[in-house]
């Protein structure tokens, strides 16, 4: 009974990750990046929780690689937004080079994440 429930749950979360991946690849943006990361983390967490009952080492590694492929894009986006909202008024000009660097990192990292996730698929 537990195994049957588990198989269904794994299949459902796998489909959710595949949907999120397709959406991100079709039109990469901040919201879709967040969605693909969150569904991936949830799925990985499920696979780790039940690793002793459902053997899925290869799938776990793939989900982990997919998440890692989006780390740089997420980091650049979050840090950029935080810096934009926290720069002290008197230090605005000093922050410009860092802001520019982060914008460039965000653009490049999102493009790389999109490339990587185009190749990784999670069909049921």
């Amino acid at each position: 009974m537990a195994v049957k429930w588990l198989e269904k749950t794994i299949a459902r979360e796998r489909r959710a990750l595949e949907r999120a991946r397709k959406r991100f690849v079709a039109k990469p943006n901040e919201k879709r990046l967040h969605d693909v990361r969150t569904t991936g983390r949830r799925f990985r967490s499920l696979l780790e929780d039940v690793a002793s009952l459902a053997k899925s080492a290869r799938l776990r590694r793939r989900v982990k690689r997919a998440a890692a492929a989006t780390d740089a894009a997420r980091d650049a986006t979050i840090i950029l937004r935080l810096l934009e909202s926290s720069v002290d008024e008197g230090e605005g000009a000093l922050a410009q080079p860092l802001l520019e660097r982060l914008r460039e990192q965000e653009r490049m990292a999102t493009r790389d994440a999109c490339k990587a996730l185009t190749r990784m698929r999670f069909p049921s």
Partner: protein
């Protein structure tokens, strides 16, 4: 940090599976809650990841046990606070030394966020104890 392996040997039904996963993830989070006292970047990060694993497990199982929903919601708030503190840690490592006012602001926000996380964790401990005693 690798998650602790959940021992599911002999599990016969979904209730037992839920119980074992939650016990393991809760134990993991409690062990790493020391990070709220140490307050350095790595300890807080490890605790945040353990909270994330516990929260995902709670959310996954709340359809089977609705009493978990409230705990999962509080845990999401705690995780948000720790996540925002972590973002400040990351930004502080790359912030130019020529921006002391911004640095002070980020440090102060970080302290407030960690305080908020500590308060939420105390609240969560009470909620989880109540849930434990209700179950036993």
């Amino acid at each position: 940090m690798k998650p602790e392996r959940v021992d599911l040997r002999g599990v016969e039904n979904v209730d037992e599976l839920v119980e074992r996963v939650l016990q393991t993830r809760l134990r993991e989070a409690r062990e790493l809650a020391i990070g709220l006292q140490v307050r350095d970047k790595q300890s807080l990060h490890d605790f945040r990841i353990a909270c994330k694993r516990l929260r995902y497990a709670l959310e996954r199982f709340q359809g089977l046990e609705p009493s978990l929903e409230q705990i999962a919601e509080r845990l999401a708030l705690l995780q948000d606070a720790l996540g925002e503190a972590h973002d400040r840690d990351v930004l502080l490592t790359i912030l130019p030394p020529t921006m002391p006012a911004t640095e002070r602001r980020l440090q102060s926000e970080r302290s407030e966020l960690v305080e908020r996380a500590a308060a939420l964790w105390r609240e969560l401990e009470q909620m989880m104890r109540a849930l434990d005693s209700h179950r036993t």
